[in-house]
């Protein structure tokens, strides 16, 4: 888990055309795509819109210089979160259909409906494409750039300062966790070693988590003291210098936003269907 954090950071620190684009542009495009997909009505037209959006995402991903495997691994990592929600839709009726055809009847009165399967697929497309844009954003934008971009776009100063500290100490504790792991390894402790008793392994992991908690608490106190030493108060905020978007960034943003708006509208009015 911690190593994934460092891997995301390594990917975001690479250099490519997409990496070099201002964070605000990427945030705006990702959020526009998500809003557009969410706004598309629950109908099969989402398949066409989703396919076009995914093609757009794929083109952008090609310019990142990152392997498609990076995307696949991250998308799969999120499956347990959203896959379960989508899977259970096939057993449930929802407000978007009036009639339901039973495809399969299971014991205890549980049925699988054709309309529910279709709804689950619609959800799947929406989720998958939205998450693709989020992965694109997080894989090509450094966390601090994302924060600066957010602050420049009007993120409240209190949030920006708190998020900035969270980003900073996420890595401090990441390194701390890594060092503790190394210490356990040098003492030949393996949490999956079946030669050691289950209770012993659990206790040691408990100690480790407890130590992390205490150290984070102590760290918090020391950081707060050092903040006070530098005049921290109610009006404190994270300093973000003004920065204008360049011409090509404006052009890319305008084209992308136009594309994201036009595609669903055209599919809706034109009744174009690929599927």
């Amino acid at each position: 888990m911690i190593e994934s954090l460092f891997q995301i950071e390594r990917d975001a620190n690479r250099d490519s055309v997409i990496h070099r684009i201002d964070a605000r542009v990427k945030i705006a495009i990702a959020f526009a795509a998500i809003i557009a997909l969410v706004a598309v009505p629950y109908s099969t037209m989402i398949y066409t819109v989703g396919a076009i959006f995914f093609a757009f995402f794929c083109i952008l991903w090609c310019f990142t210089g990152l392997s498609p495997l990076v995307f696949v691994k991250r998308a799969l990592a999120i499956i347990p979160l959203w896959g379960v929600i989508i899977f259970f839709q096939i057993f449930l009726k929802n407000k978007y259909y009036t009639t339901y055809d039973v495809v399969l009847s299971l014991p205890f009165g549980i049925n699988i409906y054709a309309q529910s399967i279709e709804f689950a697929f619609i959800l799947l497309v929406k989720f998958a494409v939205c998450i693709s844009f989020i992965i694109l954003l997080s894989s090509t934008t450094k966390m601090q750039d994302m924060l600066e971009g957010g602050a420049r776009m009007g993120l409240p100063a209190e949030f920006a300062l708190a998020l900035g500290m969270m980003i900073r100490y996420l890595f401090v504790f990441g390194y701390m966790f890594r060092k503790m792991n190394e210490t356990l390894k040098t003492k030949c402790f393996d949490a999956f070693d079946r030669h050691l008793s289950y209770r012993y392994r659990l206790r040691q992991l408990g100690y480790m988590i407890g130590t992390m908690f205490i150290r984070s608490y102590e760290q918090g106190e020391r950081v707060y003291t050092s903040m006070l030493c530098r005049g921290y108060g109610r009006e404190s905020f994270l300093f973000v210098e003004r920065k204008s978007l360049k011409g090509p960034e404006w052009a890319f943003l305008s084209f992308s936003l136009l594309f994201i708006i036009v595609v669903p509208v055209a599919v809706w009015f034109g009744q174009y269907r690929f599927f």
Binding site: K142, M143, Q144, L147, G164, M165, I167, R168, Y169, F171, V172, G174, Y175, Q219, R222, V223, T225, S226, M227, L228, C229, R230, G231, Y232, G233, E235, S236, F237, L238, F239, V240, E241, R242
Partner: protein, 275 residues
Amino acid sequence: MHLIETRNLCYIYPGEVKALHNINFIAPRNARIAVIGSNGAGKSTLFKHFNGIFKPTSGSVLVRGEPITKQNTKEIRKFVGIVFQNPDDQIFAPTVEQDVAFGPVNLGLDPETIHHRVHEALRVVGIEHLANRVPHHLSGGEKKRVAIAGVIAMEPEVLVLDEPNAGLDPRGVADLNTFINSLSKKYGMTVIFSTHDVGLVPEIADYIYVMDKGRIVASGTVDEIFIQPDMLKSVRLDVPVIPKLLKSLQENGVDVSMAYTYADAEAALLRSFGK
């Protein structure tokens, strides 16, 4: 009028742990003061009284002749900058530039002045090229410089450094010594630092306070302190290697004058050998 003065300062931690007993400390203008003592002697606790982080249990702390009150706390913290031992306690923003800007932002300065101060502070500590880096990618020495820059950007007149050389490599220690000396010589600042590395003290201090178990057991110039080996040993410290060697040579009949810094010792030995 002294820049900092404590009168019969006593401090007791919660749980009746007596940390400081009747401390009488004076920091004049443009001085380089070392506070030496073993671990747990009370050095860091004393420093936290200099800018009002800790409030005395009894006695008083005067900054420019005035006691620290709620009303002048901000002004005092601008006047007395403290650099803590562990830079990870002090660097909490996601980038170096934002972290150094934290103090000037809290002083209510305008963006142009903040920008100027940040880059000037980074230039003074020699890390202007690190402005956009994230703190967790920096070495220990670089982090230490960022922490110092963060305080210097507030333009304090007194800089307090808690164990400034802890965790630095020999080159890092040498660079920091040169830097501390330049603060006093070039910018007229008063520098107060704590250490238990006595070998370092003659190079960067004019005046020494020796602390043990929350008390000041001796104070004086470098010569006055280091001619008391028994006192130093009683507080778990020692005389630096150079005066110790010269003393031994003197006792063995070599006609060499006493010196405390490397340059003075070299000159004394060359004179002694007629070179």
